[in-house]
């Protein structure tokens, strides 16, 4: 499977904040991270917040040191992601668990197919 790189930029963390300071990276280069897994803790003028990872993949590069202030919209981290996963909107179901059921059936009394 081929891979490609995608860069995550610092999002607006609320109400038009223009920058945030990296408090602690929760991942490092070369580490695999899952989507919605912990990525980085940042601090704005309003609060500290943990940003979850927007992708599943391997961290290729961090674009800021701890203690460094990053502008909203500036590159934060670059991921190496599997090509197959790139661009998909939604969650593609994997192997499905067997369907759960509670309703039990009582066959009809008439002779079916007669």
């Amino acid at each position: 499977m081929t891979t490609s790189e995608t860069t995550f930029h610092l999002p607006d963390l609320g109400e038009g904040l223009v920058e945030a300071t990296v408090l602690e990276w929760l991942v490092g280069p070369g580490e695999r991270v899952e989507r919605n897994g912990p990525l980085v803790e940042v601090e704005t003028t309003k609060s500290a917040a943990e940003i979850p990872s927007p992708h599943s993949g391997v961290v290729a590069r961090l674009h800021a040191e701890e203690g460094e202030t990053v502008a909203v919209g500036a590159p934060l981290v670059t991921f190496e992601i599997e090509e197959e996963a790139a661009g998909i909107v939604g969650t593609v179901p994997g192997e499905e668990a067997p369907a759960r059921r509670r309703v039990r059936l009582t066959p009809p009394e008439d002779e079916p197919g007669s």
Binding site: G87, P93, A99, V103, L105, P112, G113
Partner: protein, 321 residues
């Protein structure tokens, strides 16, 4: 299923140089779901190409290309974004053949990743089949597994009529074996449903991903000694009224299952056709299991919205009296 669709598109592009594949991200990226992967590399940038993000323009361009002898296979990346293209679909694609008295047929296959079940954001999980099926001049297809997706897509592309081809996103990653590659021939005619599981106590009718859900329900019912027949409608227009009636005349009971909201959904049409064709044999009124009459819900609520095995089984039990 995506491999089967990819194979069908590859064959269609190979067999007719007039065939063109275009849409958002279908070229270099290979499609948001990888259905068109490798096609641009194999058939060139003039036959498989990316378009701007404008569904109306994609559908409108297909009209012009078809009028000039091409066989367009455009993709609208998601069902909810078919609405901006509706004017072109309804007023141009569906009517041009009639309007030109046959001088300008529209051999367009409009592929639309459709229905829900993948927890996508808003506008990415709609069920528009009733809207399309109501438009004179359009055919509508919805495959449920890989081999059928391959067959139906090739049939659609080869058809000189416009076909709205609804691909169930939730089944793209269905790993059932794709066809060996060669066109198997001997395909059932356009507008033919198929029995995917035989049974004798009741008939479940569905299309797209709900066929799989009905098969799960039939599996569960078998534990209770109830044999459910599952009919995959496949063609939502024209509908195989005779095939439906034939199945229901045998089982005497029918439940129609679809993801779309209940009211004015295609289940009403299917139910009416079954009643017209098999009324004398019906042991109970035809039942419908559908989505609810609400805006398609956010991802976490999908399991509550989509028909479940239990809802299907409850409807079956209602037909038993």
């Amino acid at each position: 299923m995506r491999e089967a669709l990819n194979l069908a598109l590859d064959e269609a592009l190979t067999e007719d140089p007039a065939t063109l594949v275009f849409g958002e991200d279908v070229g270099r990226l290979g499609g948001v779901f990888r259905v068109t992967e490798g096609l641009q590399r194999r058939h060139g940038e003039h036959r498989v190409f990316d378009t701007p993000l404008s569904e109306a323009a994609i559908a409108g361009m297909a009209v012009g290309l078809a009028m000039n002898g091409r066989r367009p296979v455009p993709e609208l990346q998601f069902d909810g974004f078919a609405y901006p293209a509706m004017d072109q679909i309804v007023n141009q694609i569906a009517r041009m053949n009639y309007r030109s008295r046959g001088a300008a047929p529209m051999p367009i296959t409009l592929r639309i990743p459709s229905f829900g079940g993948i927890q996508a954001p808003e506008h990415h999980g709609e069920s528009l089949e009733a809207a399309f099926a109501h438009v004179p001049g359009l055919k509508v297809a919805a495959p449920s597994d890989a081999p059928d997706a391959y067959r139906l897509l090739l049939q659609s592309v080869r058809s000189d009529d416009p076909v709205v081809f609804l691909e169930p996103k939730a089944r793209y990653w269905d790993r059932s074996p794709a066809p060996a590659g060669a066109d198997s021939g001997g395909d059932p005619a356009v507008g033919t449903a198929r029995v995917v599981r035989s049974g004798r106590h009741a008939t479940l009718v569905a299309w797209g991903a709900m066929v799989h859900r009905c098969l799960q329900a039939a599996e569960a019912a078998a534990e209770d000694g109830v044999q459910l027949e599952v009919v995959d409608l496949r063609w939502l227009k024209p509908i195989d009224a005779a095939g439906l009636a034939e199945s229901v005349r045998r089982t005497r009971r029918a439940v129609v299952v679809h993801e779309a909201p209940l009211t004015a959904g295609l289940g009403g049409e299917v139910s009416a056709l079954i009643t017209e064709g098999a009324f004398a044999r019906l042991a109970a009124p035809v039942q419908r299991v559908a989505g609810f009459d609400v805006v398609y819900p956010a991802g976490p609520l999908e399991p509550q919205y989509l028909p479940t095995v239990d809802r299907i089984l409850s409807a079956v039990q209602r037909t038993f009296g």
